[in-house]
């Protein structure tokens, strides 16, 4: 295979006011023709800046200060901007993470693809039309002749990403840079897009530089893997070798921090601390401060590359004297696992703390002059489940299936249309604001985005005290002196902050001074401050990096163990579910299609949708390749759900009866049940 892109010792800095950020610092990599090269790393390690450097599309504050980027042996940093324009979109293309923002909303998708063709091929008229047709066909957009004249808002997220790919392919590039191409997409859609990219790579024989934080995606896509940390590559290897035998302590930790079923009884391995700020000067190994195997040399001397095999290289002092050290290293690794605290499974308390029955939430669609109701968005359509004290129920589903609405209507943040929410012996639906106030302390919520869930203008102590003050948690509201009270409140905040693993002195600071993981801890602390019995976690880790996610999951698990909390865990991430949940409920289009104990459902999924969902999750264990069952199409709109079983248009086993009426409940054992006609005939007990 011949070399296509060669980056040598690239250094990019970003000027921000007083500080200078070395976003990329001495990065060297090689990408061969027709090969997928995955650049893996946590956020803030310089992956995207690397991509933008290759495209020479850095923001104004960015500057490439050293290094060469050779495309086919020609240094593209030396060519003038005009020539670079001929290169972009033609030989190197890029697709971005957020398809919603990457397309111009006032141009038809055909025009947007046509722009690239006009620019690089001087095509016009019917020739352009034909090319656009072929491209859209190639990326699997049905009915391209009609769709090419439609606007981006008429496409779903997955379809938009296909259009983006079509645009990127229009120039027939030799190198496609994909910056987190599927992060914003649902798993079933992600599987479709990854499939598409793989097929296109085979047929077009182009190289892909895949930037991602998801090791599962890497395992499915990559030929070569490079792990990036704090602006430099610390390990590079072919995929098989990397996944069988990751060498760098950081890579190992990344694998260890992935949640999963086999780790249920243990705490997840965490990488202490955060990615170091790139504005500081590094003297030794950049990972030294967070590394468990750190020794003196690590702090003083930056490690060189050590070759483990022909293509596998690592930047770590541990491999200096190859064999000896690695063996001791392996031992310590084993020990650290065995000494990890084993969390016993929580007590079995059968009485349900929360029982939701036939919860329904219909949002009216109004139209016309008089705002008459012309239809309903059936966001939640008859959902029932129960959570016992100290247990975790995971509500799983793709975006738009109504899982967040369930959470909010349990909290009475929105009034459900019908159904009942029975919590701790009391009916919550229909309570007035005042009556609900007495229940508020028992039910709390942790949100997905730690950046928007904390008021940027309030100090941490004020954020945490807000709930305490609003609900008068301090119990006796006797007339103590105000100074005494405020000291008591401060102590309380200190205790809560320590409980979530933050030093008490942080309470005087503002949210912007914290990283994403720390913010999520603060959000959890805020919820804990009022001593809730049930915590609704609405995708609490999906905005976080893997290592930080492990920290938060550990925290949630230990809190559950110590405080006997119940969780309603709303997520789309099945590996997190495997790790944390006791029971699972799979939602599709406002209804629960399958629920049961986590082992039953995940080992033996009955509903075709659950099966598809499980098979779509990219797995790092490539040996156990499952029969991949890929769904076609997108989730239908909840305003007009398909008649009969909601899933039938995408279901590979659809039968005529599926189109007529919604299937009834089929129980497989006392807890495991599903709504599907495949089983109703045989097992209707």
């Amino acid at each position: 295979m011949s070399l296509l892109l060669e980056i040598d010792n690239l250094a990019t800095i970003i000027h921000t006011g007083s500080k200078m950020i070395r976003a990329v610092d001495g990065l060297t990599l090689k990408i061969n023709k027709g090969e997928t090269f995955a650049l893996v790393g946590e956020s803030g390690c310089g992956k995207s800046i690397t991509a933008l450097s290759v495209m020479r599309l850095l923001p104004d504050a960015g500057e490439i200060v050293a290094g060469t980027i050779n495309l086919d042996g020609k240094n593209i940093l030396l060519i003038p901007e005009a020539d670079m324009r001929n290169l972009r979109g033609k030989r190197i293309s890029m697709i971005f993470q957020e398809p919603m923002l990457s397309l111009n909303p006032v141009m038809t998708v055909g025009d947007q693809i046509g722009e690239v063709l006009q620019r690089h091929f001087n095509l016009s008229g019917t020739a352009i039309h034909d090319r656009i047709f072929k491209l859209l066909n190639q990326v699997g957009i049905p009915d391209p002749l009609r769709r090419m004249n439609e606007y981006p808002f008429q496409f779903s997220g997955g379809m938009k990403q296909r259009v983006m790919i079509a645009m990127a392919l229009a120039g027939q590039p030799e190198l496609l840079i994909a910056d987190e191409p599927t992060t914003a997409l649902d798993v079933t859609i992600q599987a479709q897009v990854l499939d598409l990219m793989r097929d296109l790579q085979h047929s077009n024989h182009m190289a892909i530089m895949l930037i991602t934080h998801d090791l599962g995606v890497v395992a499915e896509m990559a030929h070569q893997v490079a792990v990036m940390y704090a602006g430099e590559i610390i390990e590079a290897a072919p995929r098989e070798e990397f996944f069988q035998n990751p060498a760098h302590p950081y890579s190992k930790k990344l694998f260890a921090s992935l949640p999963g079923k086999n780790r249920r009884t243990h705490e997840l391995a965490v990488i202490q601390g955060n990615v170091p700020p790139l504005s500081k000067e590094f003297s030794g190994c950049r990972f030294a401060d967070r590394c468990e195997h750190v020794w003196e040399t690590c702090h003083n001397k930056a490690p060189d590359w050590y070759k483990l095999s022909e293509n596998h290289a690592v930047r770590c002092h541990l491999f200096h004297n190859n064999t000896v050290l690695t063996s001791t290293y392996a031992n310590t690794q084993n020990q650290s696992v065995s000494t990890e605290k084993t969390l016993s499974s929580t007590s079995t308390d059968a009485a349900a703390l929360l029982r939701v029955t036939d919860l329904t939430m219909h949002f009216p669609i109004r139209s016309g002059l008089l705002k008459r109701i012309t239809g309903h968005v059936k966001a939640v359509d008859g959902v029932s489940f129960a959570i016992a004290q100290g247990k975790t129920l995971a509500l799983v589903g793709e975006s738009g299936c109504g899982k967040t609405t369930v959470g909010k209507s349990i909290l009475q943040l929105i009034q459900p249309t019908a159904g009942s929410v029975f919590f701790d012996g009391r009916e919550l639906v229909g309570l007035t604001r005042q009556q609900m106030l007495t229940q508020r302390a028992d039910l709390q919520i942790v949100f997905q985005d730690p950046y928007s869930s904390l008021n940027p203008r309030m100090r941490i102590i004020d954020i945490i005290l807000e709930g305490i003050n609003a609900l008068h948690i301090n119990g006796n509201r006797s007339h103590q002196s105000s100074s005494h009270q405020s000291r008591a409140a401060e102590e309380r905040v200190d205790a809560i902050l320590q409980r979530v693993g933050l030093p008490p002195e942080t309470k005087w600071r503002y949210p912007h001074e914290f990283s994403g993981g720390q913010r999520q801890r603060i959000a959890i602390a805020r919820a804990l401050a009022v001593n809730p019995k049930l915590l609704i976690c609405d995708e609490p880790t999906s905005a976080l990096d893997v290592s930080v996610q492990a920290q938060i999951l550990n925290l949630l698990k230990s809190l559950q163990y110590n405080l006997k909390l119940s969780y309603l865990f709303i997520t789309h991430n099945l590996s997190v579910v495997e790790y944390i949940a006791n029971e699972i409920a799979v939602m599709y289009l406002g209804r629960i299609v399958e629920r049961g104990q986590v082992d039953d459902v995940l080992n033996n999924p009955r509903h075709p949708y659950t099966q598809a969902l499980l098979s779509a999750v990219p797995s790092i264990n490539n040996e156990s390749k499952r029969a991949v069952m890929h769904l076609q199409g997108d989730i239908p709109s909840p305003a007009t759900p398909p008649p009969g079983c909601h899933f039938h248009p995408r279901c590979p086993h659809a039968m005529p009866v599926c189109r007529k009426t919604y299937p009834g409940l089929t129980a497989f054992n006392s807890t495991h049940m599903a709504h599907c006609y495949l089983y109703s005939t045989t097992q209707s007990s």
């Binding site: 006011g17 956020s43 803030g44 020479r56 290094g67 940093l77 901007e81 987190e180």
Partner: protein, 505 residues
């Protein structure tokens, strides 16, 4: 007592505003997240230069807002002090000769003779028509024809010298202060000011100050002997009028904002937060209000007020009080007609904010609506309020000029840019033309509005989250490439000069 204080309505409001600003400054200094954007304003050279000019205007305006009635010689029969019917301000006292040196009629800037011929009877009984000497302008000269130019040049030079000396003193003081603050040598801090290496662009401030002080020096040296900007129809000094107009303009700009803010804040946030019928009602109110031609509304209201004032003369002790009430009323009516724009902005922002997760979290705690509004929403829309008010300020100053010109503005006895322009309008048609009144009003108004606008620009730049994104986003450097994409033009047009190359080793 040699005088008795008079507190006019607008004076009271101006000082309330000063107190509010002082409290806000204290509050902002204590909170780091509030201080940072202001520090960014402090780093803008144009903003700081504009602020220096604005400060001079504000100082004049404040001096002109301390009113009193001087005591007269005679006393009432019961021994009570009699006070003059004329209300003076501290500023009037400071620039006393300007106010009292009144000529007969028009005279050109720096002239020694009147602008119009008049009939003078000579000692021998003859009568001639000639340009007679001014009572004050150039009165010290024996032969104005020959001496005037030299005299003016000499005094101007002296004024420049004086201004420069004062400026040097200020520079030295500043450098000394910075040197003490940073613990470095006087020379070093001086050079860092000169090179613009200081945190706050002191060099821009100092250059502005140099210009202002030189002008002040010249005016200071010339005014005792000349009318620097000439006199108007009744012989009053135009410079004095122009300086007095500053207060009127500032009062209109500032107090109108003070009156408008509660409407805009309360209604805008309520509409966005509560939605439903509250939103409907508020939207109807402001849609209706903004579809009435505001000049008509203002004219009707002001004329009604005028009638009321004229039929109740017993309510006002002095003419100044009468004029002041009319000014206040103009501010109120301008405030009532101009809150809709900000209200609309705030409604939109609140609609966005109320879906934020921290507000949802507050709801989950059962925090009351008013607490959510005051603790979560209000602090997060303040940047919009600030940008809108500084932007509106210059618009209101201009609006006053237009309204007074039309005749529905301030009381004719009150000096303002509008009344000056109105008076100058007729004289533009004269032959030879009387141009200096208009020029004076125009020049000062442009200086005021331009500096207010430049300052508003700097404020917007520092507070608008969309503008400051670049530096912040890169510093956060989150993985989402869409954010970098949204930097838009910056990313789309990278200049090749940004890329520096090191020769391959």
């Amino acid at each position: 007592m040699p005088f008795s204080f008079v507190i006019l309505w607008t004076d009271a409001l101006v000082f309330v505003l000063v107190v509010i600003v002082a409290i806000l400054v204290r509050h902002i200094r204590r909170h780091e997240h509030l201080r940072t954007p202001w520090l960014r304003v402090g780093k803008s050279a144009s903003g700081m230069a504009a602020l220096t000019v604005l400060l001079f205007f504000i100082i004049i305006g404040l001096l002109d807002s301390i009113h009193f009635r001087p005591a007269l010689e005679n006393r009432y029969n019961n021994g009570e002090q009699v006070y003059s019917a004329e209300v003076l301000s501290l500023f009037d006292v400071i620039v006393n000769p300007l106010r009292t040196n009144v000529e007969k009629t028009y005279s050109a800037p720096l002239a020694a003779y009147l602008y119009a011929k008049e009939t003078v009877s000579l000692p021998d009984g003859h009568q001639v028509r000639e340009f007679s000497r001014l009572k004050f302008g150039g009165a010290h000269l024996q032969h104005p024809e020959t001496q005037r130019i030299d005299d003016i040049t000499a005094r101007t030079a002296a004024g420049i010298g004086l201004g420069f000396a004062a400026w040097m003193l200020l520079v030295a003081l500043l450098a000394l202060m910075l040197a003490r603050h940073h613990q470095e040598s006087f020379k070093k801090s001086l050079s860092s000011i000169w090179r613009g290496a200081t945190e706050i662009p002191w060099n821009a401030v100092l250059i502005t100050l140099a210009a202002i002080l030189t002008l002040l020096g010249i005016i200071l040296m010339l005014t005792p002997y000349y009318h620097v900007l000439g006199t108007d129809k009744v012989g009053q000094d135009v410079l004095y009028q122009a300086l007095k107009s500053i207060r009127t303009a500032l009062v209109i700009g500032a107090i109108t904002t003070l009156i408008m803010l509660p409407f805009a804040l309360l209604l805008g946030i309520m509409a966005g937060y509560f939605q439903g019928w509250v939103d409907d009602i508020i939207q109807y109110i402001y849609t209706t209000l903004s579809s009435i031609p505001s000049v008509l509304l203002i004219a009707a209201a002001v004329l009604m007020m005028q009638v009321y004032i004229e039929t109740h003369p017993e309510l006002f002790e002095t003419t100044a009080e009468r004029a002041d009430l009319r000014l206040l009323f103009l501010c109120i009516i301008l405030g009532i007609t101009s809150w809709t724009g900000l209200c609309r902005l705030l409604r939109g922002e609140t609609l966005k904010l109320r879906e934020m997760e921290y507000i949802q979290a507050a709801h989950a705690f059962g925090v009351s609506h008013w607490r959510v509004i005051s603790r979560h929403i209000l602090p997060n829309v303040m940047h919009i309020v600030l940008i809108a008010t500084v932007m509106d300020f210059s618009g209101l100053v201009l609006a006053e000029a237009v309204l007074s010109y039309v005749g529905v503005g301030v009381d004719p006895s009150m000096i303002s840019f509008g009344t000056m322009i109105n008076a100058a309008r007729l004289e533009m048609a004269r032959e030879p033309m009387v141009w200096w009144t208009l020029l004076a009003a125009f020049g000062l108004m442009v200086a005021l509005v331009l500096s207010a606008n430049l300052f508003a620009d700097a404020v917007q730049h520092a507070f608008d989250p969309r503008i400051q994104t670049l530096s912040e986003k890169t510093s956060i450097m989150r993985r989402s490439s869409n954010r970098k994409n949204s930097v838009g033009p910056a990313a789309a047009t990278p200049s090749s000069k940004k890329i520096k190359h090191t020769p391959p080793a």
